[in-house]
């Protein structure tokens, strides 16, 4: 830990960093179906297994995403540490099983390589796929860069498998922007990961000597309590994520923030909020705007589920205007999902700060520094004279409409 981290870095593709992180977590069953831009992760894992680098692990390219996640339900219920990865249509096809995994309290971890959904067909990045699974009872963590996606992987297992949590987790990374880009990364060390992440020892598994049922019929007299207990698990996960972050920092010496992270937010009048790789661009723009004397800062959401209500409220309390950037939209509400969450956690408090929502980057449209500067300009006007437009699309091409 006292070593110079630069010396430990390798320049690798984001997908490789992810696959390597999965490898050192020692999964027992990996099941996946090819879909762009997830494929490199699964190919790298396949190579690791072919090279004998993951002990006691079965790998299958199954006939669809639906089957990929279904197979993991069986494997996880039998006591295996399980992994899959998918994107876009693949995640939407899994939808039915996504609820099954969380309802059965199986701590599967899945990397979602975020990609826009059809129709029209797009292979490029936005967050509509994972956001559409918002209410399925999975922990959702979003990564800003390759190092973070790598580091979030064992953290996700640790929290998901905690006996007081027992919920599956999606670790989300932006398709192509992170998955196909080469960055310097400290690849997770096997010995440190072993120290951080204990073997999976579930209390309840399928066992012929001690028969149990997973996913049984629940009539109206008991169904409510299943949902109640899942929410309890989410509440506990809030604290467990913070704890797992502290332990990660102690063992690996890196810190990306807890449930949230902030950047130049302490005295910020304009507070930008976002998730994923766009955070890197926003930080650069904040530095430029600060030179011009604009007091702007960032609140980055790392854990979207469970949503860190208290931490968000605390950080937003002193801002003059809150600006939320969403790579998704709830069609019919004309609002991005993060914006909705932020508004909902400010209601019934004494914080009465205007919240502006911007929907951008759909289907991989570039989010330039110029766009972020434009958003900051708009928010300055709102800080001076109040809010008129709550939500808007950014960079819409008038010539196509």
């Amino acid at each position: 830990m006292t070593d110079n981290p630069m010396e430990k870095m390798s320049v690798v593709e984001g997908s490789y960093a992810t696959a390597h992180a999965v490898k050192v977590c020692r999964p027992n069953v990996i099941s996946a179906y090819p879909i762009t831009p997830q494929t490199h992760i699964v190919e790298d894992l396949s190579q690791f297994i072919a090279d004998g680098e993951i002990d006691n692990c079965e790998f299958i390219t199954i006939e669809s995403e639906f089957s990929a996640l279904s197979a993991l339900v069986g494997a996880s219920a039998a006591g295996a540490r399980t992994y899959s990865s998918t994107s876009s249509q693949g995640l939407e096809l899994m939808h039915e099983v996504v609820f099954n995994v969380s309802g059965m309290r199986l701590p599967t971890v899945m990397t979602v390589v975020n990609r826009a959904v059809s129709a029209p067909i797009s292979i490029w990045n936005d967050h509509q796929d994972s956001i559409s699974e918002r209410d399925t009872g999975w922990i959702q963590l979003y990564a800003e860069n390759s190092q973070e996606i790598s580091d979030l992987t064992p953290l996700a297992y640790k929290v998901a498998e905690d006996k007081d949590v027992m919920l599956p987790a999606m670790v989300c990374m932006d398709g192509f922007i992170l998955s196909h880009v080469f960055e310097p990364v400290v690849l997770l060390e096997q010995d440190l990961t072993d120290e951080y992440l204990p073997p999976y020892r579930p209390e309840h598994i399928l066992d012929t000597k001690n028969p149990k049922t997973f996913g049984s019929f629940a009539d109206p007299s008991v169904y409510t309590e299943f949902r109640y207990m899942q929410q309890k698990g989410m509440d506990i996960a809030l604290k467990k994520i913070e704890k797992a972050v502290d332990e990660f920092t102690r063992i690996f010496g890196r810190d990306h923030g807890g449930l949230i992270d902030t950047y130049r937010a302490d005295d910020a009048e304009i507070l930008l909020m976002a998730m994923g790789s766009v955070v890197g661009t926003i930080k650069d723009v904040i530095d430029e705007a600060r030179i011009d004397g604009i007091k702007v800062g960032l609140l980055k959401i790392r854990s979207f589920r469970p949503f860190p209500v208290e931490a968000v409220r605390k950080t937003l309390a002193d801002a003059a205007v809150i600006v939320v950037l969403d790579k998704n939209i709830s069609l019919g509400l004309n609002e991005g999902s993060l914006c909705t969450e932020v508004k909902s956690c400010l209601y019934n408090t004494d914080i009465n700060t205007p919240v502006m929502g911007f929907m951008l980057g759909h289907g991989g449209r570039d989010i330039s520094k110029g766009t972020i500067h434009m958003i900051i300009d708009k928010s300055q006007k709102v800080a001076r004279s109040g809010i008129k437009v709550e939500n808007e699309f950014v960079d819409v091409r008038g010539d196509l409409i």
């Binding site: 179906y33 494929t39 072919a50 790998f59 006939e63």
Partner: protein
């Protein structure tokens, strides 16, 4: 005699959608050419055809052809096409799929379309691999052949697509290859003319993802392998098990004269209607 260059300008979208995404040496262009020539021979106008495709390298065919086209989700092309045919039976519905598209993620729709014998033509372009996503093994990757997710060879048994769809009730089943391009034209023509569910399996080389990884040579060697091992069905039937080796049958394998789904449908409507009178 059909002059391909004329057909290209008539049926393709040469000014809008090219260059295409297929790799040099890919067989899908040959299959697409055969499809266009078959349509030209039947004399269908562009407005009489609805072309439906899924996702993958084969899914791009609908992008380049200038018919009514429906580009759907991975594996679901037949389900979308079934609705289309029921709503508008007058259209000639042609579905282009790949092996992964048709027999893995969409396998369920394939077997039930066969069983239903709905009047749709399926063109399954079988290149034995998931090409577009990087060469993962598919349900038609032969046992022991390598893929990006089977570094030491696939341990699974592949589907014989023609046997599968025959067993499921398709009324017309044929197999062709990219080497036997003229025969492929004729097979697709007969498939479109068949009233019922028709399947043409077109074996097509993928030198980039499949050939290179399995040391099968370039596109020429892969097509040569089709030439050397494909045997007409009538001759194939006479071979003993020991003689077969790597050889496989091409040509029309099944051609049944059976009422299709819509025919049965209109008959039952008529019967139900007369009963009420």
């Amino acid at each position: 005699m059909i002059r391909t260059s004329e057909a290209i300008y008539k049926y393709l979208r040469p000014d809008k959608k090219y260059p295409h995404v297929w790799c040099p040496g890919c067989g899908i262009g040959i299959v697409t050419g055969a499809l266009v020539r078959a349509i030209e021979r039947i004399g269908l106008t562009k407005d009489e055809i609805a072309l439906v495709s899924g996702i993958g390298c084969s899914g791009r065919v609908s992008t380049y052809l200038d018919f009514n086209t429906l580009h759907t989700t991975h594996g679901r092309a037949l389900a979308f096409a079934t609705g289309l045919k029921l709503a508008k039976p007058s259209l000639t519905v042609i579905v282009v799929m790949g092996d992964g598209d048709a027999t893995a993620i969409g396998g369920n729709h394939l077997i039930h379309s066969c069983r239903r014998n709905i009047n749709i033509t399926s063109l399954i372009i079988n290149n034995n691999i998931y090409g577009m996503t990087g060469g993962q093994y598919s349900p038609t990757t032969p046992t022991d052949y390598k893929a990006s997710t089977a570094q030491y060879g696939s341990i699974e048994k592949p589907f014989d697509i023609c046997k599968l769809v025959e067993a499921c009730g398709a009324s017309f089943v044929a197999r062709g290859t990219t080497y036997h391009a003229k025969m492929l034209d004729a097979l697709i023509e007969r498939a479109i003319n068949n009233k019922g569910f028709s399947v043409v399996e077109a074996l097509s080389q993928c030198p980039t993802q499949y050939g290179r990884r399995n040391k099968l040579g370039g596109p020429i060697e892969m097509m040569q392998w089709y030439k050397d091992n494909a045997i007409h069905y009538t001759a194939f039937k006479k071979l003993s098990t020991d003689e077969i080796g790597e050889q496989f049958p091409i040509g029309v394998l099944t051609d049944l004269d059976e009422p299709d789904y819509l025919e049965r449908y209109s008959r039952i409507i008529k019967e139900a209607g007369s009963e009420g009178q």
